[in-house]
Amino acid sequence: MTEAAGLLDPHLTVGTAPAGREKLGLRGVSRHFGAVHALDRIDASIPEGAFVTLIGPSGCGKSTLFNILAGLLEPDPGGSVALDGMVVPPGGLLGRVAFMPQRDLLLPWRSVLDNAILAAEVQGQPKKEARALAREMARDFGLAGFEDHFPQQLSGGMRQRVALMRTFLFDRDVMLLDEPFGALDALTRSLMQRWLLDIWSRYRRTIVFITHDIDEAIFLADRVLVMGARPGRIRMDRAIDLPRPRAAALITAPEFTAIKRELLEVLEEESLKTFQAGQR
């Protein structure tokens, strides 16, 4: 449970995120699955280097949005996604953003190291070179000594870190993380959050992070996007200007709870809609 504790760097060096230029832009992105209207005219702009969290009731289309951002799904005609200011053609995002799906999807026949280098390998990097890099990175990810283990031998938290390492080793500016800590217990989760912020500060990527945990959404983010009940829409776009580095105790601070109350109001309303839709 405390396996991540040793990973935390007490001297976190992160400043506030730069209000950089737009890295990822969504313009009127909608998506239907037959009669199901999953996403409805999503507009959002993600600045370079920012940590943006996406929160919303389950079934509101968060994973669908990620699939579109990863290039796996196309938005309905009329909507578009822009990367570095350029509108991306269909399929054009494949291989250009580092996507971590909701399940870790580690391959049981590959060792920790070989799972971590999967994306790099697909991209044509020589295995030897990728492995050497992964070996160095394993310490940062709390996997030192486990490089040659197989996924079946690892705890849930460790598996999640292997999947994260795979995503980091896929050397792309944008990372999409779909509920990476969703299956972890509260304590491990809190440790992993601080660990992720630390890693993020060192590897500097633009991160979009899905969660359904409000504390997590606020604690990690420069900005929180709140999605509404289906059809998914951005109901709120809230900048989080809490100072970094952030300590665990932050979530009890008054400025934190103030933001939380604000988000809760919107979320409750949206969750209620989902709930009532389910009762009908």
Partner: protein
């Protein structure tokens, strides 16, 4: 290990019971000979049984290797062609559901009574079994895994090599395992229907000569070979598919 020991113990008990029953009820040897008699005959008839066993084993393993390779290759090809797969698969299933013995006379007619017809029959049966298992494994891959690799920029071949094939290995291994026994059976049955060599022929000939102990001796040798073949492939499977 303990499972193997238990199996051995079970076999021993069965043999002892068999021996006792034959002696107790004075069963005549042409109905059921005692194990001791079968063992003794196996030893005295070894000069004829050994080359016959060698022939059958060569036909079975040769046909097995050819069928396995062709089955896997064909499955890989069809895994990449969804349309063709949907057209061909029902035909394959129909052909595969006809009992083997039905095709054996044709094989003898076309390829003669030498080893070729046996190798082809074995390859045919093994090929179908392995093909169907492999294709099932190759096409039943977690779609989320495929999506992940696509998001890394992987193409068809990369997905085939890094995901489909390894995911299909357990299914392929099952096909290879059940094929071992089928290969032996088909080789022997085809030999019975037409040949001058092999254990199938030995059995056929011994029946004509009313030499029932020799029939049983040949069956014993065939069973031991079958078990060994099965065991070897099972061991290999455990090493290759280590994650299951």
């Amino acid at each position: 290990m303990t499972a193997a020991l238990r199996g051995l113990a079970g076999g021993l008990i069965l043999l002892l019971g068999w021996e006792a029953a034959v002696r107790l009820f004075a069963i005549p040897p042409w109905i059921l000979p005692a194990p001791s008699g079968i063992l003794a005959t196996t030893w005295t008839a070894r000069a004829g049984l050994l080359p016959a066993a060698g022939m059958t084993l060569a036909e079975a393993t040769g046909g097995y290797a050819i069928g396995a390779v062709l089955g896997i290759l064909l499955a890989i090809l069809l895994s990449q062609a969804a349309m063709l797969r949907r057209v061909l698969l029902p035909v394959v299933v129909i052909i595969n559901s006809v009992p083997v013995a039905a095709y054996a006379p044709l094989a003898l007619l076309w390829f003669g009574t030498g080893a070729t017809s046996k190798v082809i029959m074995v390859a045919f049966i093994v090929g179908f079994t392995v093909f169907l298992n492999a294709l099932d494994g190759l096409t039943r891959v977690d779609p989320a895994g495929i999506a992940l690799l696509r998001s890394f920029g992987a193409g068809r071949l990369s997905i085939l090599w890094r995901l489909r094939l390894p995911s299909a290995l357990p299914a392929i291994a099952v096909g290879l395992r059940v094929s071992t026994v089928r290969a032996m059976i088909v080789a022997i049955v085809t030999e019975m229907l037409g040949s001058q060599l092999g254990l199938g022929w030995t059995i056929f000939e011994a029946v004509l000569q009313i030499d029932f102990l020799r029939v049983w001796a040949a069956i014993l040798v065939a069973s031991v070979m079958s078990l060994a073949f099965f065991g070897a492939i099972t061991l290999l499977e455990r090493r290759v598919v280590f994650w299951k």
